[in-house]
Amino acid sequence: MSEHAVEVNNLTKVFRTGIGNQYVVAVDNLSFRVEAGEVYGLIGPNGSGKSTTMKVVLGLMAASKGEAKVFGLDSGDIRARNEIGFLPENPYFYKHLTGAETLKFYGKLCGIRGKKLKARVEELLEIVGLEDAAKRRLGGYSKGMLQRIGLAQSLVQNPRLVILDEPTAGVDPVGSREIRDLILRLKEEGYTVFLCSHLLEQVQEVCDRIGIIFEGRMRREGKLEELIKIEKQTAMTLENASPELLAKIEDLVASEEGASIVETGHPRTTLERLFIQIAERRSKEKASAEKKEEAS
């Protein structure tokens, strides 16, 4: 039997507010599954119940009704936490520890010790590119560095499931791109990734399946391509097409009954892609200038 990485069945979470019988339903009869090996995005606006759902899966909160399971284990079971690596939204780490100490700390909490722990810490620091900052305290890290160390600690015990809470929030486009690349790599390596975000366009590029949650309820769920494709429309991008070719295509569409051209024009890049292009170009210029200096 193939078990789901995450299985949420009829999850309801109610919070009492104030005195008396006032309460807020944060999650209302939510059900979804995350298959092993896929990247699943739970998206929704702020206050939609994403964080609450994630905390129940992490075992930080108990469900009012329903259940949540991780690889068949109840989410409150401590064994379930062995399966999970969690990257929080903000750097919820001890600022008085250095990068290496942070990874050692979490490694020991997961039962890794001695030379194995030392090797693992070195490996993770290299993966996230923080070898030079390993001995610096987290209080002196930038936001991007904190995200990277957070990612490293989430992988310290080689979990099967990685939960990312708003992984690209507050990170610059270059950092966002790196995180997205890493998520894709994790997927290639066989990890299951469950991420929560409200940055829809960034999620779009990495997720296999998406759940859209709003006011505590799942509104839509399914494969990304199926959700976002506009039925009955086809997009085609041409390069170096002559006006004559374009006219021929327009005539062809007009001759087909029921078909029509919805929109034509030059496709636009995104500001994000432009930013990345500039950064990459600048990086290449610097590298070649350095090479010239070395040669001379």
Partner: protein, 302 residues
């Protein structure tokens, strides 16, 4: 980033019911946190205080000067121990909750009881080390002054029997190895205070609230045995007052019992078995208060 391969590990590793390693890891992280908050700088202030008290004295005799030095220094040790226990412990859990560091810790396979025990152990390690250092500083100061006074007496001249009497009095008020038990008494008191503070911090909303309530509990814990002696014997007190005193006595630890360091410093002989009994009593308090803290903390939602 490099292209190092990451291999997901095999599923289903067993998690022990209780892991000393995890407790010790959290304890050492707590020690690091407190040390990097520069708490040990207090020891410099303590050494300075002893230098002042040791050299500026209004005592009428060397014996009394030594007695004053011992009382002030062990009083400072006691004060530091319980005050630090309250403040340090009160900062730990509420700060972890406010900073949400607790999320990342509890998202690992860490039991909540291990977390509480680790925090308490960390505070006690720092207090224990501090008290040991303070005791050494104190002992050096007392011995140094004692040797000086004895030399002055011998050089001062006078009848042999007078000199012998003075030397005996100086020795009586000077250093004794039993003074280590006085420092240990302060440690036991601090341990119970820390356990009470941990309990309060599991349901308190902020560090400040925890500190204030802990200090109040400590003062009441000291006062209620006095109050019991004074007021429960007076028959014209209302039933309400008597009930209230009895409730305090049952619910709040008797901190006055842990103040036996004063008697040792004053020169009382340590009866055999007292330290063992107090240690067992302290252990009882720690176990019960940690258990009760766990009741409050185990289902706490973050």
């Amino acid at each position: 980033m490099s292209d190092e391969a990451i291999t997901p590990r095999a599923p289903g590793k067993k998690v022990p019911i209780f892991s000393v390693t995890r407790v010790w890891t959290i304890a050492m992280s707590t020690v690091t946190q407190l040390v990097r908050m520069k708490t040990f700088y207090f020891l410099l202030a303590f050494a300075l205080l002893l230098l002042v008290v040791g050299n500026v004295s209004f005592a009428s005799s060397p014996a009394q000067a030594l007695s004053t030095l011992k009382k002030v220094s062990f009083g400072a040790i006691d004060l530091f121990a319980w005050l630090f226990a309250i403040v340090a412990t009160a900062l730990l859990i509420p700060r972890d909750i406010e900073d949400r560091t607790l999320y990342t810790i509890l998202s690992k396979p860490v039991r909540r009881g291990e977390y509480l025990l680790g925090k308490l152990a960390g505070v006690l390690v720092v207090i224990g080390v501090s008290l040991a250092v303070m005791f050494v500083i104190c002992s050096i100061m007392i011995i140094w002054k004692q040797v000086g006074y004895m030399a002055d007496e011998q050089a001062g001249g006078g009848r042999k029997e007078d000199i012998a009497a003075s030397l005996a009095l100086i020795a009586k008020n000077g250093f004794r190895i039993e003074l280590a038990a006085a420092a240990y008494a302060s440690f036991l008191k601090a341990a119970v205070v820390a356990a009470v503070t941990i309990l309060l911090s599991t349901f308190a909303s902020s560090s400040l609230f925890t500190i204030i309530i802990s200090i109040l509990v400590f003062l009441v814990g000291h006062a209620h045995s006095m109050a019991t002696d004074y007021w429960l014997r007076e028959t014209d007190n209302s039933m309400a007052v008597q009930m209230l005193l009895k409730v305090f006595k049952i619910v709040i630890p008797n901190f006055q019992l842990f103040s036996f360091s004063e008697g040792i410093v004053a020169g009382a002989a340590l009866a055999p078995g007292v330290l063992w009994q107090m240690t067992w009593l302290t252990a009882g308090y720690l176990v019960v208060f940690l258990f009760i803290s766990l009741i409050a903390f185990v289902d706490k939602e973050f």
